[in-house]
Symmetry: C2
Subunit: 239 residues, 2 copies
């Protein structure tokens, strides 16, 4: 019997919110949801997770969040007593960091904060080609992803992008690094020519990080999902 949570889809009903419990709407294999889960783990924030089938989205979810994306947060607030909702991975992550100030993941210095935010925003130079390669356009994609990664090798001036320990920026970039082995069949291997020594060490350190370990999806299950996703038949509830 599987312990994997079922992904709710069209025709389902929204499970009732419990007072005092933070809810994360997610999808088990989504890198953007992965970001929020890393922040929740790093800050030790308790939450329940509701999985959304992104191919046949529940009507009730589209009502809460018309673009239908995950992750999002929902909870019942006390002052005033009302339901609150926040979408978008970066906004969710920054909200969690501000609303739960233990173990701050963002620097308080405005310049450092801005610099790290630039690294997060410009990571599209890696994420864009990642999906190109995944969807079967490896030729242009591999050149672009290596170019994008080279700028991160240059930007890494410390053990972590955030300094001597992982910070928000590290967690926001990590989900795609964990997924690089998915691109192996398409011919991409991270640091294939050894030009990314600092990044390679960072990957090693991140892999050993407690929060990273805690929310990791076993690679063979992720691979099974992605194989279906590429063929246009994503299977959400797999073990």
């Amino acid at each position: 019997m599987s312990n994997a949570p079922k992904h709710l889809k069209s025709g389902s009903e929204c499970p009732p919110l419990k007072e005092g419990q933070l809810r994360l709407y997610g999808m088990r294999f989504c890198p953007y949801v992965h970001r929020a889960k890393l922040v929740l783990a790093a800050k030790n924030i308790p939450y329940e997770e509701i999985h959304i089938n992104l191919t046949e989205k529940p009507e009730w979810y589209l009502k809460k969040n018309p673009p239908g994306q995950v992750p999002s947060l929902e909870w019942i607030d006390n002052q005033p007593k009302e339901t609150r909702f926040i979408p978008e991975s970066l906004i969710v992550s920054d909200y969690l960091d501000e609303a739960y100030p233990q173990t701050r993941l963002q620097p308080t210095d405005p310049y450092l904060r801005a610099q790290q935010r630039v690294l997060i925003e410009r990571f599209s130079s890696v994420v864009g080609p990642f999906y190109k390669i995944l969807r079967g356009d490896p030729k242009e994609g591999i050149e672009s992803i290596n170019k994008g990664l080279a700028t991160y090798e240059e930007a890494l001036q410390n053990t972590y992008f955030g300094g001597s320990k992982p910070a928000m920026v590290d967690y926001m970039l990590w989900p795609w690094f964990e997924r690089f082995p998915l691109l192996k069949d398409a011919g991409f291997q991270f640091n294939a020519d050894g030009n990314l020594p600092k990044l390679a060490e960072w990957v090693q350190n991140m892999e050993n990080n407690e929060s990273v370990q805690k929310v990791k999806v076993p690679f063979d299950i992720l691979k099974k999902f992605i194989d279906g996703y590429i063929q246009g038949k994503p299977e959400y509830d797999i073990e």
Copy 2:
């Protein structure tokens, strides 16, 4: 003789930075630069502006900022003494708000902050169609822009998006509202069917705002630039 600042281009040299002076790299007609200038005006921050020709970008600017976009900020910091640089309109604007804490434009409450950030991020539902219409695809564009604007009519629950006075979110959205008259020839008129009464009142209030007035580019000059831009021949130094 013109008072309009010249836009520096390929082959130019970077004017030396002065200690103690904040520099904004901009382009006179760019809505993203407009965002930063609204924040600088609202917070009464002194700065010098260096204009960049975006068609023939100076080599020295591409070195500072490889994507070559404006706005960006630069200044000499004291501790330690080094040159600092921040790109990207939203990151520049948030940095200014945090580094110059007088007249805070962002709410301190994490939930309000997140909500207003969602409004800023999702404004692509208006900005995307704006450029579609401008570039001569009014049919699909007009339907999309009206759909996008309807969600902002619904979101506007107070005089301003930020509450009883203009906040970061208001300034981040404003530049495109000021540019709507540019779409007149393409058949788009803001609030043509009267379905956006709250937004229309917000536009009125924003037009009377001191910071908005201060950084406004006269419409006929903006129009002249845009006419050239649409034809692929933007003329930066016009009066």
